[in-house]
Symmetry: C2
């Protein structure tokens, strides 16, 4: 994996660049739709490519490990072959889901023992095993195994957890260094900065992570319930320490507003379930603001979902028709809303990139944040 | 609406023809995907047109009347405009759903009073009001308001019900004769033959319906639980009485086998929820036979869903991937299976038509029935 930094905005810390992987190039800033168990919910692979124009998607190691499992993924030749997505893929480490979804998890210096949320079966993740699993999934970018602290989090716990994450990182790096990709293309490891909301811990962690000299770096443990101002403060702090010539990935963020603000702080990569999960509940992100399509207000609105955004789905279907589908729990409602929201998110980061390249990002961002965060 | 009969098979009663509507031509035999509330479940309109190549779809008057309701449909300019489907549409009369879905229904000579299955609100359908509703929905082909008898059904009830259906038909015909389409294109009324499983009632009903001289005719009250042999016997009997120069529509049928057998008896039009409903449960109809994709057997089968059938979805996704999605209740599983099954159904009737035109239908049908009904 290579990263080419193209330009840095004069009035903010926003950057434009290109991440190159063996499955193709990804212009940054980028947003990665979340394909939990090998499928971006309610969206065909063809739609991801042609309608949404996603350049990379994310898979969850925890889900893929449980189902379909590494044996089948290995037999298929990796997730790309299994689900037919031939553009870049990133997998998380599974850590976040172990903490949020599984039962009876027991964490110790060696790793984590947990029970599957599907059938209660017992499993064990270690830094080494998670690297092996990600080798078998075959993502282009793979994430270090970390502990993601909740919010709020006591200082002592945050510090001990960060230190554990750092020790585990050494083991992840060793494992990747001493093993080979299984499918003939490169896999880049991204370590993850932790440290909760404590400036000194974030600084120490960013410094430690930067010294690993991996192809890219991630910021974890944010967007877990803390105020946005704290998320921005921590992100700003960490971006100032991480190598400018490597892509910076802020994990699990966020709203359109969060993404614009964090682009301004120097973040290059984002992922979030929000566009797809909220779509299934009828919340739409549009170029005019946020819509709850279930509201009576849209009942007779026969105008396109978002004519300004463009794209087949957002211009072909009307708000009134989509509302009818969502109210009636028609699957097509989830499909339309998911494609629309992802189209919007991908448009947003593409537009941000254009503005950075044109040297107009900061002003555009301040205007756009107001528009995209207003409820209409 | 016009019907042009092209040819009748020498060794069976199968026919090929073309139904012409103001929204386009439909070669027969035809199969109509069911778009209950204005959406064929889990399938985009674009996919219906480009992948499945459905020439006509069906909407349910009962569902559309309750939601989105006639006021909104009228404001939109009819269902075509509301859901963006610009090819022909057929609506049923709502009768079947009133009997099968709603609560507290009370039938009398004037019409039916029932409570909505959604919110318990009270509504009334009469032959006249149902014609008015179908005018407002704006389908190209609309169905008479009938009573669909269950199976089994006492002779006395079947006879009285048939007579009621006949009296209601006169009122439907009058209403259509004395009202105009609302959106500038023609709407053709199809009366419905009833009479349960009784030969003399079916003969009397077919004779009565034929004498109405409407643009097409339908056979109702079959595929409601009776043995297939009885369904075929009644269909054969009725087809022998209905005008050969008008299309014959066998409502709610059926399996691929049922469709092939009834094409051989002279039926031109079919609709059924089976390809979409069963898809959502993991049952696939393929050119090799019927697959329960949930079975362990398909777990590691990385071959396409149906390479012989062709089409993007059936060749792009593997059986193992689809099984993974269905087992994990991923929406994409329902989407893929629904498109695949409908592609298969449309392929089946298109292929039947080709065989009729080539004069090879009977032999092909006997072979094909065995293939498509076997479980693999």
């Amino acid at each position: 994996m290579k990263f080419r930094l193209e330009t840095i905005d004069k009035e903010s810390k926003a950057r434009a660049g290109v991440v190159s992987t063996d499955h193709g190039e990804i212009p940054t800033p980028m947003f990665m739709p979340v394909g939990t168990a090998g499928s971006v919910k309610a969206v065909h692979q063809r739609e991801l490519e042609h309608d949404i124009d996603a350049k990379i998607i994310l898979g969850n190691t925890y889900h893929l490990y449980l189902r379909p499992g590494t044996a089948l993924l290995r037999k298929a030749g990796g997730l790309h072959k299994f689900n037919g997505w031939n553009r870049p893929l990133l997998t998380d480490s599974g850590g976040y889901q172990v903490y949020s979804l599984s039962a009876n998890r027991k964490i110790n210096p060696e790793g984590v023992t947990f029970k599957s949320h599907i059938d209660g079966s017992t499993h064990h993740f270690s830094p080494e095993s998670v690297m092996d699993v990600q080798r078998m999934i075959g993502a282009d970018i793979i994430m270090a195994f970390d502990e993601c602290t909740p919010y709020p989090c006591e200082y002592a716990y945050a510090k001990a957890s960060m230190e554990l994450t750092h020790r585990w990182l050494t083991r992840c790096v060793d494992r990747i260094r001493t093993t080979e990709p299984l499918y003939g293309y490169d896999q880049a490891l991204f370590p993850i900065v932790q440290g909760s909301v404590y400036r000194d811990l974030r600084e120490a962690s960013a410094d430690y992570i930067a010294r690993q000299d991996q192809p890219g770096n991630a910021i974890g443990g944010l967007s877990v319930g803390e105020p946005h101002e704290i998320m921005y403060e921590m992100t700003d702090l960490v971006c100032g320490i991480l190598d400018a010539n490597k892509p910076r990935y802020l994990m699990g963020v966020g709203t359109p507003e969060n993404i614009l603000e964090c682009i301004a702080l120097g973040v290059d990569m984002f992922d979030c379930v929000m566009p797809t999960r909220n779509a299934r509940n009828g919340m739409l992100f549009t170029t005019q603001g946020i819509i709850n399509i279930r509201n009576e207000k849209w009942k007779e609105d026969l105008s396109p979902i978002d004519a300004t955004l463009g794209g087949h789905v957002s211009t072909f279907y009307s708000k009134a028709y989509l509302r009818h589908l969502v109210i009636n729990k028609e699957i097509l409602g989830a499909q339309i809303a998911s494609i629309h929201n992802l189209t919007f998110y991908l448009w947003l980061v593409r537009e941000a990139r254009e503005q950075i390249l044109k040297g107009q990002f900061a002003g555009w961002k301040n205007k756009m944040v107001k528009v995209v965060s207003q409820r209409i």
